[in-house]
Symmetry: C2
Subunit: 289 residues, 2 copies
């Protein structure tokens, strides 16, 4: 299974981004990629920098325009596309979601972001109802994959529950960046923690991990600051070894191979899944012990 | 709370190591350390390189000689000591355990290693009954701490369940090293994965982490190979930042401060514990989904 992470900048409005995404998916397919993932909420600027009820207009039905357009590319190129989408499920129920489009262009799966952040400049709890589909892995023509989204990447439980469903790789479409006023002091540690915790999921679970971020500076709607998306998309192997890593500021396609023999070799030599103490993990379902 | 990780080499037999450990604990206390952790099974060579029933003679009762000797140092210096011990609980029931000795020299807590490995040269399943005390955190005079042992360090569940009990720092006494014949090809990736997954636990849980390893080459009993313990003990902060890190081959005391204001600041700015989906984690108690 050859996978691709597409790291792009996103324009403010929705139309240009969809065409751009379609072009980049086609380009990745032409490079031999079979499962291609776009960044979180790629159809617009990251609108969660403010709480503005009119921005729910950016949401769309699923299936809908995004899955149709990218489904057409998936079918044309015979590839699987992971398409993040701002899902309008019902008036008042919106999700930060990801649609799986198979090589026939059909919508073959849906994941709804389970862990919803809410921090200054990342006001996602205003927009997104937490996912109610649970953690997911999907069979594709090319292999079994798992899907999580951005804030999920900080939760070992999400990675574990996805890996236990047999995913060989976990995709994390993402929109993460620096607040310019924090970057000098905290930027390096923030990026390193983000990369480290996801490499940790790869190691603990013996799975490949692909983090797919956007780039570019997007100003805050009130003109005060904004977010500098840090790019640095990467693909790691089941031992946490970085196979491919992007820059902080260039649009790029990362391509890597998911090798099931390598995955099995790692899990044979580091048999973590064998020794889990499933009799003693009940407290995980508590808030605090 | 000022903590110390004691990285030492261990001699083959038990007596010299106990006196040496007592000396190093005293030295760490003299450097201002308040909670001091020794490496896993420090009282002998790492005997699990072979399966030999006579080596159960190395086990001892708990409380017993190790807790008495180190309790005396703890009392003399007014410090807390985390003392790994090969526990003889009953004929046929032995544990890889850790005793908590408080500043009055009393045994104030016991943790029994929950995840037991078994790999070539690390035949622990022959010697150790898996722990039945669950995951633990303990109040001490200096702060609340958590204890896990070696192989536990690969399990996000262990770190999570320890952190959820309010530990500000998780100690991982360890005996991990390279097989000489693998070191050139795999050594760097093995060490990096070990360091990364534990830094990941620090990040995901907003806790300090201290990994306490031994150093030295210990030949296999059959004369064929052995283990080169890789040292590299470290202490990381709640963002995974390395505060102190030891060499691969020197006996050293690592000292660092656990700052509860810093811990709370990290958890306020990265509020991962707030958003856990405890309604959706039930599958963690399954072997495979």
């Amino acid at each position: 299974m050859r996978v691709a992470a597409i790291q792009i900048a996103c324009q403010e409005g929705p139309e240009g981004n969809l065409e751009k995404a379609a072009e980049w998916v086609a380009k990745a397919a032409d490079q031999g990629a079979q499962v291609i993932c776009l960044p979180e909420l790629f159809r617009s600027h990251y609108f969660c920098q403010s709480e503005d009820a009119s921005l729910f207009d950016l949401a769309e039905s699923v299936p809908g325009p995004t899955t149709e357009r990218l489904g057409a590319v998936a079918k044309e190129k015979g590839v699987v596309v992971l398409a993040p989408v701002f899902e309008r499920r019902a008036p008042g129920i919106y999700h930060n979601a990801l649609a799986l489009l198979n090589e026939r262009g059909e919508m073959a799966g849906l994941y709804r972001k389970m862990h919803i952040p809410d921090d200054p400049g990342f006001y996602e709890k205003f927009y997104f109802t937490p996912g109610d589909l649970g953690f997911k892995a999907f069979d594709t023509l090319f292999g079994r994959i798992g899907t999580l989204i951005c804030w999920d990447q900080w939760y070992p439980e999400g990675a574990r529950l996805t890996a236990l469903q047999g995913a060989a790789i976990i995709f994390y479409p993402t929109a993460i960046g620096w607040h310019p006023q924090e970057k000098a002091e905290h930027g390096a540690a923030q990026h390193d923690a983000w990369r480290t915790v996801q490499r940790g999921h790869a190691i603990a679970n013996g799975v490949y991990v692909a983090a797919v971020n956007r780039i570019g500076f997007e100003p805050a709607p009130d003109g005060d600051g904004g977010i500098e998306f840090w790019g640095r998309s990467f693909i790691a192997d089941p031992q946490g070894v970085i196979l491919a890593e992007a820059s902080t500021n260039q649009e790029e396609i990362l391509v890597a191979d998911v090798d099931l023999r390598h995955l099995e070799s790692i899990r044979r030599n580091w048999p973590f899944l064998r020794d889990r103490r499933i009799d003693a993990y009940g407290g995980i379902e508590q808030r605090w012990l």
